[in-house]
Every structure is written in structure tokens, then in C-alpha cells.
């Protein structure tokens, strides 16, 4: 049996006001122009907000969750008459999925690259050559591991 957990929404990160989900009245204005909803039958921002509100979110923050298909296009943010901000609810759910080790490999790898190198990718030899050919100034890349210091243990 599925158990509801009304306290679940309190766990959602509030930096970007994902807490506004309480105002959602399930009107579906967020669904119509959602590029992910148009392409994935199980991706529906209205339902995702409802699941977060009811605390029925094990699947959403579990492995291979559909939340990672969100295009972060912010159409739902603009269309929502209640300022419930579905996209921020989805980001907060992604954070919970990441914390429990359920983020997709690509996401973890990209974050690791930023933490280790300071950038999402490194400077390849061919790109260094291209920069020289174009005559753009030499690039000064961040010191390795620099961000780990500020982020603390």
C-alpha cells in the first residue's frame, strides 16, 4: 500500500522557493507546453507537484526517475497562475535523489568534474591548438580541487 507523508514537502530545498508548491490547485497549466511531458508519458509536472505534496515520492527520488528528463525550460514557472514553481520542486526532488545516491551517472560525473577541475570539461590538446590558431588569449584554468576547499568537508 502506498503511504502518504504530509511532512515530505518540508524536506524540499527552499532556496528557490520550492516551498510554494502548497499553492498548487492542480489546474494543469504547467503541462500543456512542457517539452518533457510531450515526450514522456510518465512525466507530468502537475502530478510531480501532487506527489511531492502528498509525500508519495519514493519513485520520483529513486533510481532512473523521470525527473531527470526535465528540460529546465521554466515554461511551467511562467504559466503557473499560483506561482507554485513546478520546475523548482523538480530541482529540489533531484537534490534529494542525488543525496540518496540515485542520480544518473552523467549528473554525478559532471558535478565531479566541476569540483575537481573547476570546469565541466578540461582543455584538450586540439582545443588548445584551436585557441592558438584563433589567436585568443591563453586560458587560465582554476587550480585543481580548489572548489572542494570552499565547499568544506
Amino acid at each position: 500500500m502506498v503511504r502518504a507523508n504530509p511532512d515530505f514537502a518540508k524536506q524540499l530545498n527552499r532556496i528557490e522557493k520550492a516551498g510554494n508548491l502548497n499553492y498548487c490547485y492542480q489546474c494543469s497549466a504547467c503541462v500543456q507546453e512542457c517539452p518533457a511531458a510531450l515526450r514522456f508519458s510518465d512525466f507530468n509536472p502537475r502530478e510531480i507537484v501532487l506527489c511531492a505534496l502528498l509525500g508519495v515520492a519514493d519513485e520520483l527520488i529513486g533510481e532512473n526517475s523521470v525527473i531527470w528528463q526535465c528540460a529546465t525550460c521554466y515554461n511551467c514557472y511562467e504559466r503557473c497562475p499560483q506561482k507554485a514553481r513546478p520546475v523548482e520542486v523538480i530541482t529540489a526532488l533531484k537534490n534529494l535523489a542525488f543525496e540518496t545516491g540515485n542520480a544518473p551517472e552523467q549528473i554525478t560525473a559532471l558535478r565531479e568534474s566541476v569540483l575537481n577541475h573547476g570546469t565541466i570539461t578540461t582543455l584538450s590538446d586540439s582545443m588548445k591548438k584551436r585557441r592558438d590558431e584563433l589567436g585568443v588569449p591563453a586560458i587560465s584554468l582554476p587550480e585543481a580541487g580548489l572548489l572542494k576547499k570552499i565547499l568544506g568537508g
Binding site: N13, R14, I15, E16, E33, P35, A36, R39, F40, W68, Q69, C70, A71, T72, C73, Y74, N75, Y77, E78, T91, A92, K94, N95, F98, E99, A103, P104, Q106, I107, T108, L110, R111, V114, G118, T119, I120, T121, T122, L123, S124, M127, R130, R131, E133, L134, G135, V136, P137, I139, S140, P142, L146, L147, K149, I150, L151, G152
Partner: protein, 292 residues
């Protein structure tokens, strides 16, 4: 109005994957007389869907560090990327909130000898076009693109969330159309004008399906090329066309330019100096056909 001295926030994608966009932008800044300085210490903005998806607090801390560095060593920031623009502008906005997490992030940034982030402006290349067009840039235009039909793709994060980005209407943007018209070209409206490029959708086939739908709609509206303000959208449409062809056999042959490249051409940069041959969809015919 935008200042004439700015600090470049280079980001990752342009310097490390598409330096030809950086080349065009530097030519543009020099030609219009805006001094853009490079300072050391910036990292990835960080990227606003994956890194932000992994952890908002971490995302905000790294963004705050970048803003703090700009505040301490430089000035108002100029970026060529919607991702950097969105992260830095949203973070700046978040730093004015009184959420406890935000206060803790500010404390952490101050502990590294950087100021509380928030007192500088974050400008996109498109802001500069809008703010300096009449007084400065329009007078530097030497070449026109008479007869070209141009499909603008704004990219989501230049426009939305509109209450934070404050660039233009999130579903009926006009600012960049005026720029295209001033260059003698025609901005074409097409179905799904402000839709996403699909880049952030994790499932690659579906992601390309979003790009494909937009390219198709641009073609139907008679576009000769796509102009974008963002390297992620650039990659999705330029490299994306190669992937789409491989996977679905659909061919669009629609050249893609970053706004900085279009402007460099209009300001009479030598096209052969701009590295346009690094683009996957050839640009050369477009340049010879319309640039006069």
C-alpha cells in the same frame, strides 16, 4: 546603461569547446570600444541544471564565489552564455533572500575573504546589444545582411524566469528582433518560437526530437539560418543536426551562429579569421550570399 568597462565571465563551453565564439566576441568588444578585462579565479558558473540538480547549496556557493571574485577584483560581468547568465543572475537574486541556507552560504563565502555577493551587475551579450545599440553599436555596423531570413532562438534561460532575468517578455520577446532588423535582415517568427532547444533533457533521442521539431519549424518559416545567444543551444542545433541526420536521416542544413559571430561579421571582421569552418553545418555559403 551598460558601462564601457566590463569583466568577462568566460564560462566553460565557449573557451573549452567553442573558442571561435570567444574570438568573435573579443573582436566585437574591441570594435565598439568596450574594454573587457580577464581576471583569474573564476570556475564553472556552475551549470544550472545538472550541478544545480545535484545540490542547490553547492550550486549557490560556487556561484557566490564567482560573484564575490568579480566584486573584489573586477566589475560588472559580461557573459556569452545563457547558462552562466541564469546561474549568476539567479544566485545574485537568491542572495537577497533571508532563507537560513542562503545566510550560511554567505558566511562561507565571506570566510574565504570574499565580499557578500550581490552588488555587481550580471550582463549577457544580448543586454549589451540592447543597451548600447543606439548610442554605440549601430554606428559601428559596416556590413548588412540584406535579404536574410533569420530565426532567432533565444534559449530558455535568457528569458525565464522572467521576474529574475528581466530581459524581455518570456513568450513574446522582441528586443533581439529589432537588432536583426537594424542589420537589414528579417527576423522570422515560427511555431514554437520561444520553445526550449531540448538540450537539458537527459534522454538523448528525445532531446534531439525537441531540437528537430524546432529546426523543422524554422525551415518551414523560410529561415536561412539560426542565431543563438548561448553555446549550449549552439551545440544542440549545430552538432545536433549531425546527430539527427545519423539517427533519423533528416537533413536541415540550417547554419547556426552565435549572436557575437553575427555581430562580428556585421562589424566587418574578416570571415576567415573567425573560425567559422569549425561549425558542423557549413556557414560559408550563408556569408557569401548575404553579407554585403
Amino acid at each position: 546603461m551598460a558601462q564601457k568597462e566590463l569583466t568577462l565571465f568566460p564560462g566553460c563551453m565557449i573557451p573549452l569547446r567553442y573558442p571561435q565564439i570567444e574570438k568573435a566576441a573579443r573582436f566585437f568588444f574591441r570594435t565598439i570600444g568596450v574594454e573587457v578585462s580577464d581576471i583569474e579565479g573564476f570556475t564553472c558558473c556552475p551549470e544550472p541544471w545538472n550541478v544545480k540538480g545535484a545540490g542547490l547549496t553547492e550550486w549557490l556557493t560556487i556561484a557566490g564565489r564567482n560573484l564575490g571574485i568579480a566584486q573584489k577584483h573586477g566589475g560588472d560581468l559580461i557573459t556569452l552564455c545563457n547558462g552562466c547568465y541564469s546561474t549568476l543572475k539567479e544566485a545574485k537574486h537568491a542572495f537577497s533572500s533571508d532563507e537560513r541556507t542562503v545566510e550560511e552560504v554567505i558566511k562561507r563565502i565571506k570566510s574565504t575573504d570574499l565580499p557578500k555577493p550581490g552588488d555587481i551587475r550580471v550582463l549577457h551579450f544580448a543586454d549589451l546589444l540592447s543597451e548600447l545599440w543606439e548610442p554605440v553599436i549601430s554606428q559601428c555596423v559596416k556590413k548588412r545582411l540584406e535579404g536574410a531570413n533569420i530565426a532567432i532562438h533565444h534559449g530558455c534561460h535568457l528569458l525565464r524566469p522572467a521576474d529574475v532575468m528581466k530581459f524581455d517578455d518570456p513568450f513574446d520577446p522582441e528586443v533581439l528582433e529589432r537588432i536583426i532588423e537594424s542589420l537589414g535582415a528579417t527576423p522570422v517568427r515560427y511555431r514554437g518560437y520561444t520553445d526550449c532547444c531540448g538540450r537539458a533533457i537527459l534522454h538523448r533521442d528525445k532531446s534531439l526530437d525537441v531540437a528537430s521539431a524546432k529546426l523543422d519549424s524554422m525551415k518551414q518559416a523560410g529561415a536561412d539560418c539560426v542565431v543563438v545567444p548561448c553555446p549550449a543551444c549552439f551545440e544542440q542545433f549545430d552538432l545536433g543536426q549531425v546527430e539527427i541526420k545519423r539517427k533519423t536521416k533528416r537533413v536541415f542544413d540550417l547554419p547556426v551562429l552565435h549572436f557575437s559571430q553575427l555581430l562580428a561579421l556585421a562589424l566587418e571582421a574578416d570571415p576567415s579569421s573567425l573560425g567559422l569552418d569549425y561549425h558542423r553545418v557549413p556557414v560559408v555559403d550563408l556569408v557569401s550570399k548575404f553579407l554585403s
